[in-house]
């Protein structure tokens, strides 16, 4: 892989508008105000890297994830995959692209079909990629080993697995498609602290050993800081700041990033130093200037 290879993914001025729901009459008149869930976002993910997307609910990061995996089409903007504009792809190439970008979901109980055993979940993915039945068994065993699950788990239903195990199955399902890019949408936010590290480490291992590029979406700055080589901070549809964590999280330039960092509970250390005053400030609403971009709290 040469250093001047194109980034695996590049977004240029991506914008996604939704029509705000108004009364029936207004809609009939063709009215309705457009609302930009994602507003002119540009960034690039170098091949083989982990890119972090950080933001709070309503920041547009999940819409962005759906655009990247092409579940929804952007209103305007260009998306390049491996240097190629995905909008101009013919049918076959578009299909190839779609299989090359896979997603790992937040485990909210709906990421796996409750009526399918693990074996079938993996088998369906392998079949979709065109793996022959003869090769499927060895491939399944390899994937299970890859994500750290024992083969007896193949006979289990999702409700018979723990949250961490379900997330491993979700990762195996994505890997079964042999993707070039993995979009992980809040992969650990539903897991207990003691298990989060296991899944994050697994994603890091996969990135290192397979060279798989990953877009990691998370609200947890500390997790992103640990594993990403670059990150973008989203707020109200905009990417307000981006760069390596050593810069963005150590010397943030945008006030929203600073607010976000200040809001992370810092335990005992914070209790002793700044937290008291900071919490008082939060409680009293003195942070108005800094929290203004959040907007939700009047």
């Amino acid at each position: 892989m040469s250093t001047d290879a194109p980034p695996i993914l590049e977004l240029r001025q991506i914008r996604k508008e939704y029509m705000l729901r108004q009364g029936m009459l207004a809609r009939l008149r063709g009215g309705g105000k457009p609302f930009a869930a994602v507003d002119g976002v540009s960034f690039a993910v170098p091949r083989g890297s982990i890119f972090g997307l950080v933001g709070e609910s309503g920041s547009g990061k999940s819409t962005l994830a759906q655009i990247i995996v092409r579940l929804i089409e952007p209103t305007s903007g260009t998306m390049l995959f491996n240097g190629q504009d995905v909008a101009g792809l013919d049918r076959a190439a578009a299909q190839r692209f779609r299989r090359g970008v896979q997603m790992v979901f937040q485990d909210t109980g709906s990421s796996l079909n409750p009526r399918k055993r693990v074996r079938r979940v993996i088998a369906e993915a392998l079949a979709a990629r065109g793996v022959t039945r003869a090769n499927a068994a060895t491939e399944t065993a390899r994937l299970m080993d890859r994500v750290g699950l024992d083969t007896p788990m193949l006979a289990r239903f999702p409700h018979e697995l723990s949250g961490g195990q379900r997330q491993r199955v979700g990762i195996a399902r994505a890997l079964a498609m042999a993707p070039d890019l993995l979009v992980a949408d809040e992969p650990v936010s539903a897991l207990d602290v003691s298990l989060q590290g296991q899944i994050i480490n697994l994603l890091q291992e996969i990135n290192a050993s397979l060279g798989l590029s990953i877009v990691l979406i998370s609200h947890d700055l500390a997790v992103v800081a640990r594993v990403c080589s670059a990150l973008g901070v989203m707020s109200k549809g905009h990417m307000v700041e981006s760069g390596p964590p050593s810069r963005v999280l150590v010397a943030p330039e945008h006030p929203y990033t600073r607010t976000l960092l200040a809001a992370v509970p810092s335990g005992l250390k914070g209790r002793r130093q700044t937290d008291r005053t900071l919490m008082d400030a939060f409680a009293a609403g003195d942070m108005a200037a800094a929290t203004a971009p959040v907007g939700s709290e009047a």
Binding site: V193, S194, Q196, P265, V294
Partner: protein, 321 residues
Amino acid sequence: MSGPLLQIDGLHIAFGSRSVWRDVVRGVDLRVSAGEVVGLVGESGSGKSLTALSVMGLLPLGAKVSSGRILFDGTELVGMRDGAMNKLRGRDIGMIFQDPLSALNPAIPVGKQIVDSLRTHASMTRRAAEARVVELLDLVGINQPAERARAYAHELSGGMRQRVMTALAVSSNPKLLIADEPTTALDVTVQAQVIGMLDRIRRDLGIAVLFISHNLDLVASICDRVSVMYAGRVVESGAVEPLFDAPRHPYTRQLLRCVPRLDGGTGPMPTIPGLPPRFGSVLPGCAFTPRCVVSQARCSAQAPPMRRESGHLSVCWEGVP
């Protein structure tokens, strides 16, 4: 008043039906003194929420207190009749939940709900109650309280709802507020605001708080004392600073290392290997043994001793000759 405000002794809570009951909370002791903030931390399935719900007499269907005592202000709550419990619940103990939307009536303006509660519990006149609502909403940091009082729950943001819920919970001047994961569903900036608000009202009102959370950093930032639960038992408890500075139980130590930190460096994240025991499975010794980095031969077979040093309790064989 002598003795703690809330005293839980040897609490066992079982899940099951008819013939088969399995203990999921297995002998919890807990004290909350007047005006004190006590944190109850643990991961999912540790029994922390069930413990809190049992204080309110709100255990889910299929769960019951199988043994133990819960004393509130000297009154035994286990086996208390519903009528007496309701009275206590509304007046002396308030509670806030993870999901305030389900706890607020969608069809009644939020201010009116607080008015109703005030008129029931404090037998106030309508005018006095309405004035008090504005005070309460102001207390929990809601701007333009008089206007917000007329809003419906769905018109408010998540953080606002939690503030309203808190105003409702403290409207009857309770002695104890139980907060069960009050910020888990919120964004971090909103979480910081709600925690700041809780910290302020408990200092303003001198109310005791039992704060249930899975987030160690949150607990460390607002609690006076902490109990750490694992698999239905308290494994360590003590004042916040010594507990977080020098955790004595291996579970607490390992868990604290897992918390992601901004200055945590790069590379693999620390983890606790293995999985927590399945809900309600019976273990003779210490439940953490299979995942413990300092476990010994006796750990899985014999229940570990409770050892207390200057108020700091640890339930572990480590260092016992």
